[in-house]
Amino acid sequence: MKKVQFQSRLIPYLLLLPQLGIVGVFFLWPAAEAVRSSFYLEDPFGFGSTFVGFDNFIDTVTSTDYGRVARFTGVFTFFVTALSLGIALLLAVKADKVLRGASSYKTLLMWVYAVAPPVAGLIGILLFDQHVGPIVDLVAMFGWEMQVGVSYSDTAIAMVVAAVWKQVPVNFIFFLSGLQGISKSVQEAASIDCRSGFRRFWTVTFPLLAPTGFFLLIINITYAFFDTFGIIDVILKTEPGNNPVTLVYKVYLDGFRGNDLGGSSAQSVILMALVFILTIIQFRLIERRVHYT
């Protein structure tokens, strides 16, 4: 890359300012505010607040409801991550094999990436609609009366399906480029050394994809945790009732529906810590990411 010498030492900082401003206003300030309010008991109407120390955290962590939501979030994250990685890998392997260079097929597999999460949720709603949803009709043929929004597990399944559907294209793009990064002659050498395509995949292709896989694993966990908010909100129509929610959604529910700003802030601080840990892991992985020559 070309190196530019600045005349004044201030110019680089000036150029950084807009980005730093955005980070400051939209991230650092609210984050600091969240940390602050997590130590207070806020009056719902904003007339006053009382310092309560770690009470909000203790209440949050010890509540049975929080434990239930945390468990669901764990299960939800596991299924979303595993399914979206698995399906994307399968699609990428097939697309790489059959259609080397046929870009239209790939575009078809990728376009969902451009769909906004709430729209994905809406489409999910439509697919799982009690009256016109094709998926509901389909499973009804096997005797399964699916009731999204009423049955806890059916709603959870709809959420997972919509979230996976939305995430598969991202993973697909990464896996496909990862596959195309594997030297063709290495694959040819493997085809001379090993007759079984299945075995070849697990002994040569998959290990060479592992760096991409690790990276995507972190990205997908983060996605399932945080970015599925829009999908969940649309499926629940902001009326969760007895339906499952994730931790992020609970932050919103408790804060803006339940008017428990302090408790909600404490939850978001816990989530922040979680993101922080995930980010560290991700950086470590990227640093150590093996580059094969």
Binding site: A189, I192, D193, R195, S196
Partner: protein, 361 residues
């Protein structure tokens, strides 16, 4: 070990591109065959068809007594060495060597014995635990060779295995490959665009051009009697000089000057005359004694000393046709100087000016 037979093998790619146009070769057991030609001549395609990495459009390839057209690459009993080594980057050197054997469910002790033996032959025993990225180019090349050797296959296929190495290492590995192949006695097919590699390695050369075989033969025979102007200019370095010759009822005459005598025995009006740079000598004055040798008069453009010998790059004053002549080391010639050259009849080749085919005299 076994023979390999190619019977009118053709390869047509999508869009009617004919990369290989009906090639037939009989490769004897233990023979070292080199396919040589410029890029795009079909030599790699041919090798990949033997390996099973490309489909055969028409024709038949047999390894031993078995037609392998429909046989999976892993079942053809061949081992291939790739240009960029194609080592498995995530496996240790040991596992790189053992991988093909493990997949054939070979006994662990036997795998170990073969890997150790190959490592000993190739002197890579100290690196068996390393990953390929921790090896130098030459070491990787040895590992790639080792992966072929441990299989003890019916044939080795080499796809320009030395072209990623630096010049010194290339010469060293070339010698080693030849020694190894002779020691093991395994039938080998080797693809290269480097005529020097081809000459030094081959028992028999196959010179390819545009998907066709131009000539098959022992390297020295190809050098002595190139079958066409293409082979003449491809084999040998610097390339053979090709000069235009006119023929009429009075006999033959060079377009550049008068130094050619002899009857027009073949009755054609145009020929190409070939003389290798190393087959001319500088003489005091043209002999002009009427025998069928060639006398030339050239103007020196550049003198290129390469150490053991020197090359004169010159041209003919009449036509501007260029010529290269090998002269002794430490020769001193000035640019612009006029020189007389002499080539003996046995060193002069005639080719058909139109088809480029050799005319036996």
């Amino acid at each position: 070990m076994s023979t390999i037979t190619l019977d009118t093998v053709r390869k047509v790619y999508a869009g009617d591109v004919e990369a290989v146009k009906g090639v037939s070769i009989d490769i004897a057991d233990g023979e070292f065959i080199v396919l040589v030609g410029p890029s795009g001549c079909g030599k790699s395609t041919l090798l990949r068809m033997i390996a099973g990495l490309e489909d055969i459009t028409t024709g038949e390839i047999s390894i031993g007594d078995r037609v392998v057209n429909k046989v999976d690459p892993a079942d053809r009993d061949i081992a291939m060495v790739f240009q960029n080594y194609a080592l498995y980057p995530h496996m240790s050197v040991y596992n790189n060597l053992a991988y093909g054997l493990k997949n054939r469910n070979m006994d662990k002790a036997e795998i170990d014995r073969r890997v150790k033996e190959a490592a000993r032959i190739l002197e890579i025993g100290d690196y068996l635990d390393r990953k390929p990225r921790a090896l130098s180019g030459g070491q990787r090349q040895r590992v790639a060779m080792g992966r072929a050797i441990v299989r003890e296959p019916a044939a080795f296929l080499f796809d320009e295995p030395l072209s990623n190495l630096d010049a010194k290492l290339r010469v060293q590995m070339r010698v080693e490959i030849k020694r190894l192949q002779k020691g093991l006695g395994t039938t080998s097919v080797y693809v290269t665009h480097d005529q020097l590699e081809a000459m030094t390695l081959a028992d028999r050369l196959v010179v390819l051009n545009g998907g066709n075989i131009e000539q098959i033969g022992a390297p020295i025979d190809v050098y002595d009697k190139p079958a066409s102007t293409f082979v003449a200019s491809f084999i040998g370095s610097p390339a053979m000089n090709l000069l235009k010759v006119k023929g009429d009822e009075n006999g033959l005459s060079l377009v550049s000057g008068k130094g050619l005598s002899g009857a027009n025995a073949f009755g054609k009006s145009a020929y190409t005359l070939g003389i290798r740079p190393e087959h001319m000598s500088v003489v005091e004055a043209p002999k002009g004694d009427g025998n069928s040798g060639v006398d030339l008069e050239i103007k020196v453009n550049v003198l290129e000393p390469v150490g053991a010998e020197s090359y004169i790059y010159g041209e003919f004053a009449e036509s501007g046709e260029e010529i290269v002549v090998r002269v002794e080391s430490h020769s001193t010639y000035e640019p612009g100087q006029t020189l007389f050259l002499r080539a003996e009849p046995k060193d002069v080749h005639f080719f058909d000016a139109e088809t480029g085919a050799r005319i036996e005299s």
